[in-house]
Structure formats: C-alpha cells, structure tokens
C-alpha cells in the first residue's frame, strides 16, 4: 500500500491486474491487493486459527501431522471444516502451510482437543 492512511490524495491509476495496486482518483485511500504468497503463519492466524485450538476444530499444531494429510484436509474439508479452494489458498501457499503446521510447536494459548 505504501501511503499514509490519513487521507492522502491519490490521483493516479497505477498498475492493475492480479497482484497490482490500484489508486483511484479523488480524495480516497489507497487500495489493497494480494501481493504474492502469504506466509503460512499469517494464513494460520487469519483462517485456521479461528477454529483450531479455539474449541471448534482439533488442535493441529505440535502434532507433527503428515503434510499430505494437511493438504488433503484443506482441499476436501472434513465434517464442519469447509474446503479451501486453490483460489483461496494457492498450491504454493498450501505446501508452505502444510510444512509449517507439521513442524510447528504446540501453542500453550490454544485449547480444545
């Protein structure tokens, strides 16, 4: 994004398309777009971590889960867990996420089963 959030004028349209940043004319805020693969810990915090370790889904950190299993679960879902599509978590992000979950330490803040 790169521009102060306090209402700076953004007066040009710059790069567009996937991964681009768009600034619209007028007294508006800069806009946001996805910018490459997100780090696995961010995906965990913004998606997985709302259920896993929060009494909704089972704890998955610190269990040395098989990476293929993690990828299978993400793409297929299971029970109350929805499936996540390649457009939501890219193949590259999923590879990294599976490794991160598999190798992660248990988080003492998490609870449930």
């Amino acid at each position: 994004m790169g521009i102060s959030a306090k209402g700076r004028m953004a007066a040009v349209i710059t790069a567009t398309g996937l991964g681009g940043i768009v600034l619209l004319a007028g007294c508006n805020m800069p806009a946001q777009a996805s910018q490459g693969p997100r780090p696995p810990e961010k995906i965990y915090a913004k998606v997985c971590g709302y259920c896993h370790g929060k009494d909704i889904g089972p704890i998955i950190r610190g269990r040395a889960l098989d990476t293929e299993l993690v990828k299978y679960m993400v793409r297929h879902g299971k029970g109350g867990m929805p499936a996540f599509k390649p457009t939501e978590i890219s193949p590259e992000e999923l590879d990294n996420l599976a490794i991160w979950i598999s190798e992660s330490e248990a988080d003492p803040e998490e609870h449930g089963q």
Binding site: M1, A5, K6, G7, T16, G17, L18, G20, V22, L24, G26, C27, N28, M29, P30, A31, Q32, A33, S34, K46, V47, Y50, C51, K54, D55, I56, G57, P58, I59, R63, L65, D66, E68, L69, K71, Y72, M73, R75, H76, G77, K78, G79, G80, M81, P82, A83, F84, K85, P86, T87, E88, G112, Q113
Partner: protein, 541 residues
C-alpha cells in the same frame, strides 16, 4: 469438542493420498452426470479449452479431483443434484466478459461465487448439477476506501478479514459489520445474498451503495451514480435516477456482480454489550415484544439476536456430551446444561453505541423494560469471560470469529447442517406458534430444534439450524424430508423463507406466487436469453 485420534488422522491421510494419486486420470468426461444436461462431451471439452485460453491452465478446474473443494457442502444432497462440472477463476472483469462469451457460445451454465462460503445454504455448490462454478475469488482488490465518507468499493474476492485488516493497518476510524463466519466470507457475496450482521449496520443490503454488473452479453452496468461522466458520488448516493436496479441483482441470476460499494459504520467512542437471559421456552414472545419498540425508535440500534439455548450450546458442545440416545434431547436436559454454562433458554444479545453520556441515559430505560418482562440483564462485568457472551460481544462490534461453524459438527465428525429462515412480523404472538411448529416437525424426524430469532426493524427472522449427520444416508434423507416439510408447513401459514439452500430454491420460489415468478422469468429472458448465469438460482430458470 471435535477431535481426531492419531489413528484416524493416519487413516484419512492414507485415503487422501491414494485419492490424489488416483485422480490424475479422472475427468468429468468419464462421468456424464456431472456435465450440464444439454451439453455433450465434445462441446464441454471445447468450452474448457477456450476457458483455459482466457484464464490460463492453472485456473480452470475440470476433473473430479481438482473440483473437489467446490463440491464440499454441509447440506444434504443424497441424489447428487448439486455437483459442479468444474470451475473457472477469472482475475479481471475483462476475463469475466470473455468467459460469459464462451458460456453463451456453448450454452455452458455458470454458477458465480465470491468465496463460496454460503455455509448453511450449500457453500459453492450450484442449484443443479453440471453447472460450472465461476469462482471470483481471484478478483480480490479493495478498489477504493473513502476515509471521509466511510465508503468502500470492493471486488467479490475480498473477505471481511481483508477489510478488517485494511482498517487496522491504516488505523481508520470505522467498523465493518460481519455475518457469523466473517473471516472467510466475501462482503460482496453476503450482501448479494441479503445476509445480515449484528452492529447497527447489520442489514447489509441496506448499507450497499452502487455496484458494477457484468451482464450475460458482456455489457458492464454501473448502477446508481456509477455511470456519471466525471462523477464521484457512486458510493455516496444509492438511488441514482430512474428505476433503482441494484435489487434485481441480489439473490438473482440476472448478471455477475463484479464490484460493490458499501457504507461503513463510524467507530463509536463507547461500546457496551448486554445479554438478557430468559428461563423458559415460551419467554421468546415477551422478549420479542420488548425488543420491537426499541428497534423501531432505534434506542437499540443493532440487529438483536434471541438465541435459543441449544443453538448456543451447539457452538462449543457436541451432541454426545448431552445425550447418548438418537431421539430429540428433552428440554429439561438442555435447560440444565444451559444453566450450567451461564445461559438461559433464550439469550437476547444487544449493544449500545455512543458516548458515556448517551449510554448512561439510554441504558436504564432499556434495562427497566427487559426486567419488567422477566429478563435478567447482564453485562461484561457479570458474564466475566463467558464464551458465549464473548462470541456475541465480538459479533456486535464487527469482530472476527468462526465459532458458529461449531454447530455443523453437532452429530459428530462428519458434520452436517442446513439453515431455514422464515420471516414474520416482529410480534411476540408470531413466535410461539413458529417454535411449536418447528419443534414438532424436527422432532418427528429425530432432530433437535436449535433456534435463534433475529429482530431487525419490524421483522423477525426465525433462524433454524437443522443439524444432521452428513455421514449417514438415513440421517441425510431425513434432513431433506424434514426441510421440505418445514418449508411447506411454514409457507402454508404465511411464513416464507427470506433465503434458502440451493436444494430448496424452487420450493420457496413457488410460495412467492406465479406473478413474481413470471416477472422474474421475463427479466431473465431479456437479460440472459441463453440462461447461462446460475439457472435455478432462487427458482429462476
């Protein structure tokens, strides 16, 4: 709580790996049932080839394994009526236009989704098998955020989490309003389904302002003020000039919405959440009559939830913890479990927003009315971290939570749930009849009645979560029959649903009458003569 054993983990993992390996040779061309009804294999293959040329090979999914994420659903589908033929994921409006051109050429029906997390209503699955999912998730830009007006313009792939993060990162003085599963849900998708949230901006379509729609022939329509040359009022004034068109693109299949404007709520200086506990099932009438005048005069500004005890418990509990039999759980057991967890049989969640002075002036009036109706009014101080209170405290300030997904695994690891939400006037006299009817029908099929009522302004949404065992054919079939009977019986009494799962869209549409259906059909013929956008959506062919 939901857990899985190491043994189960390894078993599922082995199955999963085998399926992944074996799927390389699978194709929808080997399973004609997945194909659109009126499309032969060669035409489908030709259409897929053209779609690949538009979006690239990586973003067309046309075999069972690569489309598996699009097939996951929580609702029952024992006859396989909601299996997509594939999916295509454009990254721009221009690609949407090009895709629709191909769809018209081959008569390939497209089922648009934003993120496909329409949880209680079918997730990403189409109204009929064979439709190709038009997955708009890659169109994920926040295009505009006006920090003075508190307006935003987004693409369909933007989630509430994305907007929440943007506001936090830029320290903007606004709140968003989220449905119960905000982090992974699209603001565009939820608003187009006329979903609701729990802040004073909870009626999402009411807070929508301006949209861009790609029509079936590729025409780009900007509603309201969006097409004014040099205009800058698109997200400030809803109505534009002449007929107001935005409504016909919600819960509809008349076009593909590619941009949507919304108003955001200024962050209040003070926020104070409350819960009012009522001890008995019949108290829902008194609760409703107490809430209604405060919603009408806006002393309570947010969408108020009246949460039934079982709906609450099912978020964090599984059925086996309360009962070891298959029959409906008796109210006495539910009541005892609720009391153990600091809950009533009904729990009213509302909040006040403003300054210390305005809240101090308002609170005694509201508190007095609830107490006079037999309710017990409690705040943060008394609830002291109660997880259900914390959940609603988060929702009523537009915070991020996915806890309500917990309901789906009520019957166990396989999950299963479908929502039914009939609407009625916000009068206490409407509630007990609805509760008795739903309870009688659900219990006759062996299901537990997990209700909530939501009081908007003058209307009452009865939100019934039919939880079943998706892993059991018998349970799934009972769930289908139970849902049909509920829709039919409620409809016969004048209580029709405001929204429905993909499996019951036509049934609900019938209740809105032939004239409505005929007008919708004429609009469809005019705007999408080949019926390539989401046929069957809301009962519109």
């Amino acid at each position: 709580m939901s857990g899985f054993s190491r043994r189960e983990v390894m078993r599922v993992g082995a199955v999963g790996s085998a399926m992944v390996a074996g799927a390389a040779v699978a194709s929808p061309l080997n399973g004609p049932r997945m194909l659109p009804e009126e499309l032969d294999k060669d035409s489908f293959a030709a259409a897929v080839k053209e779609l690949r040329a538009i979006v690239g090979d990586d973003w067309v999914f046309a075999d069972p394994e690569s489309t598996v994420s699009y097939r996951k659903t929580f609702i029952p589908d024992t006859k396989g009526n909601h299996i997509p033929s594939g999916a295509v994921a454009p990254a721009s409006v221009e690609e949407v236009q090009a895709i629709l051109k191909v769809a018209n050429k081959y008569k390939l029906p497209m089922w648009p989704i934003s993120t496909g997390k329409n949880m209680g209503y079918g997730c990403a699955t189409p109204a009929s098998s064979g439709q190709m999912v038009l997955d708009l998730k890659r169109m994920n830009r926040i295009l505009d955020f006006d920090a003075e007006l508190g307006t935003i313009l987004v693409e369909p792939g933007v989630t509430y989490q994305d907007i929440h993060d943007y506001i936090e990162e830029n320290d903007l003085p606004y709140w968003i309003d989220v449905p119960t599963v905000g982090p992974i849900v699209s603001m565009v998708g939820n608003t187009l389904e006329r979903g609701v949230g729990y802040t004073p901006y909870g009626d999402h379509f009411f807070m929508q302002c301006g949209m861009e729609v790609c029509l079936a022939d590729g025409t780009l329509l900007k509603t309201g003020m969006g097409s004014i040359d040099k205009g800058n009022t698109w997200q400030a004034f809803k109505w534009g000039y002449g007929p107001y068109l935005d409504g016909i693109f919600t819960q509809s299949n008349f076009g593909v919405v590619t941009k949507l404007g919304m108003w955001l709520m200024p962050k209040p200086p003070v926020y104070k959440p409350f819960v009012v506990r009522y001890p008995n099932m019949e108290d829902v009438a008194k609760a409703t009559d107490t809430i209604r005048p405060f919603r009408m005069n806006n002393l309570i500004p947010n969408g108020v939830l009246i949460m039934g005890a079982l709906y609450q418990l099912a978020m964090f509990e599984q059925r086996a913890n309360l009962s070891d039999t298959d029959g409906p759980i008796p109210d006495a057991i539910i009541k005892a479990e609720a009391e153990k967890n600091g809950l009533g049989m009904w729990n009213v969640y509302f909040a006040l927003y403003g300054t210390e002075e305005t809240i101090a002036a308002t609170e005694p009036i509201i508190r007095g009315a609830f107490e006079a109706s037999g309710g017990e009014v409690l705040t943060d101080e008394e609830m002291n971290g109660n997880p259900w209170f914390e959940h609603h405290k988060t929702l009523m300030r537009g915070g991020m939570t996915l806890e309500e997904i917990g309901l789906v695994r009520w019957w166990g690891a396989e999950g299963g749930a479908v929502a039914f939400a009939p609407v009625a006037p916000a009068k206490g006299s409407e509630t007990n009849g609805q509760t008795e009817l739903a309870k009688r029908i659900m219990e006759s099929y062996g299901f537990d009645y997990a209700p909530a009522y939501a009081v908007g302004g003058r209307e009452l949404h009865h939100i019934i979560f039919l939880m079943f065992d998706h892993g059991s054919e018998d349970s799934s079939q009972r769930a289908e029959k139970c849902m049909e009977e509920m829709i039919t019986e409620f409809g016969a009494r004048g209580w029709a649903a405001y929204r429905s799962s993909v499996s019951t869209m036509d049934l609900v549409a019938q209740q809105y009458g032939e004239a409505n259906r005929e007008v919708n059909a004429r609009l469809k013929d005019a705007l999408d003569p080949n019926h390539i956008i989401a046929p069957g959506k809301q009962g519109i062919a």
